[in-house]
Point group: C2
Chain length 513, copies 2
């Protein structure tokens, strides 16, 4: 077999059976090798869709996906969502085709410093030496990706088409996240025993779902501490029956207010709260000076194990965890505003939905109102690069074909990777895309004020408005094969949501504000 076949065989042996692809000429042998019934190849019209989909897929699946990208520019197009995935701890195996080694010296049009480009956002990076070593490379890349790392394998044409022999047997290495050291847990236990003031436990990473979340619920029930997440978290299990988590506000002033009375912050698989952006005369760190921060578990440690050890030290293992009750939300009526939108969402959310949340302004209130909705997972953008939700929703839907994915985004954000809609139509994915169309980069208007500008000059103001011409998202969706409708009232929004959840396949709802 050739190198490309060895690559695909090894991916499959490592449990990677999903490839988000945007191929080019230099990846023809890889493409030929993908013609394998065990591998699902999903075509994306833009590389940012492929890498974002790999992020969403990882968040909802135990095994990473691979991507197929076309030389330096193909990788470049995918990097913004690689950045978001990296910050979320979502692993992926990026396979980036390159010219054959002998061709590189001629500086052909698509030649560039591909290694230099891949380095900043890859945890693991390798240029395949030749066809014989590809299998080992892929096994290592997959091991890194399974641990939540960005693995990038550069695949020169000759490594792809050359004779590789049979790939060696590379056993799957299950990722290990170590429990925190007992001394660290004991120090935190001492604080809980003698707190001298309120304690906030901030959960991140894998601790916001499953066992970690349940154990945090026990801790809250036993000690009265409050539980929160950063403003953005990779995946949170929430809704009725789950332990509820508060959300530290996004803007600096309310975040300072939220944190001001805590004596201790205990972090689990996350760091201490920092401002998303920097502003003149505004702090980067959000906690008060009088508050001490204690790391119970680092990002690459086992937060659930740390919480279990802590509960043991506190003698609270058998306490019943704090749980959110179901709140039946009546169907809202009247004008669409952040509150009625959030209520409609809470009322319509089906059991076990996946909510991908990229609404920066309009949808921001939704989080509070959906706390008591049907159980669901929420995926948020950890890297801040917009154009996140539609690709991530695409990947999440492929990972969980039996669940409805609700992708919430603003009109500005949606336009970065709008090509996702086509893949959703092609694969008939159960994704409801909600566009909050306020015809502006609304977040920037708030941020402009935060920077201390009293008012906008007309030219600067125009650069935050996307109302001229008005984007017609229903037409855009139609152009890519996705049915869509516009709604202008809370009832219509609710009905549209219900309808989209009742019918298989994708739908787009343009919420006209």
């Amino acid at each position: 077999m050739n190198g490309a076949q060895s690559l695909v065989k090894t991916l499959l042996a490592q449990g990677v059976d999903m490839c988000f692809a945007n191929p080019g000429t230099s990846e023809m042998h890889f493409l030929a090798a993908l013609d394998n019934p065990a591998m699902r190849s999903v075509l994306c019209l833009f590389e940012g869709v492929a890498t974002g989909a790999a992020d969403g897929y990882f968040r909802m699946n135990d095994t990473p996906a691979s991507t197929l990208l076309h030389l330096g520019p193909g990788l470049a197009n995918g990097l913004a969502n690689v950045h978001n995935a990296r910050k979320a701890g979502s692993g992926m195996v990026n396979v980036v085709g390159d010219h054959a080694t002998s061709h590189l010296k001629y500086d052909a049009p698509l030649a560039s410093d591909l290694d230099g480009l891949a380095r900043p956002y890859s945890h693991w990076l390798r240029r395949a030496d030749g066809p014989h070593t590809i299998a080992t490379d892929v096994a290592r890349a997959t091991t890194a990706a399974r641990k939540g790392r960005i693995a990038t394998l550069i695949l020169p044409g000759d490594a792809s088409w050359g004779e590789a022999g049979d790939p060696p047997d590379c056993p799957i290495e299950t990722p290990v996240f170590h429990a925190p050291k007992p001394g660290r847990v004991d120090a935190v236990a001492k604080i809980f025993k003698n707190p001298e003031g309120p304690i906030l436990v901030i959960l991140g990473g894998r601790a916001c779902q499953g066992e970690g979340l349940k154990l945090a619920g026990k801790l809250a029930a036993a000690t009265g501490c409050r539980l929160a997440t950063q403003f953005f978290t990779g995946r949170i299990a929430r809704g009725a029956g789950r332990t509820p988590l508060e959300r530290i506000p996004y803007f600096v002033a309310p975040a300072l207010e939220f944190l001001k009375d805590f004596r201790h912050i205990v972090t689990v698989e996350t760091g201490e709260p920092v401002a998303f952006f920097s502003y003149p005369d505004s702090p980067s760190l959000l906690k008060p000076e009088s508050c001490d921060v204690h790391g119970l578990a680092e990002k690459d440690e086992d937060g659930a194990a740390g919480l279990d050890m802590l509960l043991d030290a506190l003698g609270a293992r058998t306490v019943a965890p704090k749980r959110q009750e179901r709140i039946e939300t009546p169907v809202p009526s009247g004008k669409l505003d952040p509150q009625t939108i959030a209520l409609a969402l809470a009322a319509a959310l089906p059991e076990n939905a996946i909510v991908v949340d990229e609404s920066l302004t309009t949808g921001r209130n939704a989080a509070g109102f959906t706390l008591g909705a049907a159980p669901h997972d929420m995926l948020q953008n950890m890297g801040g690069s917009i154009g996140f939700s539609t690709p991530v929703a695409t990947g999440a839907a492929l990972a969980c074909p039996d669940r409805r994915v609700i992708s919430m985004t603003g009109d500005g954000s949606a336009m970065y990777t709008i090509q996702s809609l086509w893949t959703q139509a092609r694969e008939n994915l159960n994704v409801t895309t909600i566009i909050f169309a306020n015809r502006a980069y609304q977040i920037l208007k708030a941020e402009y004020a935060n920077m201390g500008f009293p008012e906008l000059g007309p030219r600067a103001a125009a650069m935050m408005e996307i109302d001229r011409p008005t984007l017609d998202f229903v037409a855009l969706a139609k152009g890519m094969g996705v049915p869509g409708l516009k709604v202008a009232s809370a009832e219509a929004f609710f009905r549209a949501l219900q309808k989209s959840c009742a019918e298989p396949g994708p739908m787009l709802i343009e919420v006209c504000l």
Copy 2:
């Protein structure tokens, strides 16, 4: 004034009065400073539109444009078209906002190795030290960009908002391209005097227009040498009255055939012909072994000066240059195919149009048929990263508001940066976008065969088809405020082209194949 104001003032003093922007929070002070009537800020919904527009603007204008990009991911989104611009020798000044210096250590969501990311595709790269040195940085960046270089200035928030004082007076440095050394010209002159076989002169860079092109026409008239370009060239002045240039074919086999009888190749502001991609058992270099290659002028030298010196050495300065005659093309009728499409284009092309050519399969024949059309400029993709034409057309239209821009692209390519249409509508640009909708990555099917695969497996074949669902480009254009129509016959295509050229503003024509 603050650093951002100093930056904008210096850009303007350096003659840079166009900014393609996709701003974010970290660029709020820059945005505020852009509120200056002397600076034209053009909003782009995606960064690849901004950098591609800067490329098109440079090709049609003496002075570069600037871009405003938002941290690492914003730059990443723009890099594919930066790559294309770099290969074309199109300069631009990228201003990339970053967090304030004091905020970087907290690894906030949007923090990344921005310097590492910018390095591979920037000729000139600097992180602003502080507000006081920004003016000098900008003057240097602009000098580099004016010479056709990619200049990237990373602008931390504190450098932007801190007090800068009045910017120093930085005179504009006009770029100098040196004439080739006389010895090199003499060596080439000797070959022309005693050629021992046919000579091909390959023109690139600035030599494909203006004085360089005219001098090459004299050389051809005086010596009988043939004149050609590489398959892709940044800008060619062509049509009736201009010196006609042949085009070296794209695929390896016809390129070898085209070049096989030449004894000498003389290159002017370009290199010797190399294959676009590498294939197993296929050469990278396209000339026959018996052919010698002579560089008359390197890419950064003055090819026109070299040609003038050569003509002088040959005593041919006063020869009348070879010129293309006007060929009146009758309006074609019947079925749309590559030939009738090319004929319709040749017949409809208005005087002084700018043709941006990204049609990889269907439109490829157009070049031959438009040689005798009305005089026009043709811009091609030197970097091979698709998603080129719609942004470049946007920038070209802004540089030349009185000229019609015809942007030809395939359906696959168009989807990478389709957001350009919105900017074209917003700025009411005279751009006709022609989508050759063959519902496939048609080029890949040919390349698959070139790689030696006898037939496609069904899964690999599906990855080259974009027909499921069918993209409706008229709906996509409507979604972004651009009127569009579908055509299915040669007459209808011609009429649509005529109509679009007669009416101001953008239009999209979907050519259904």
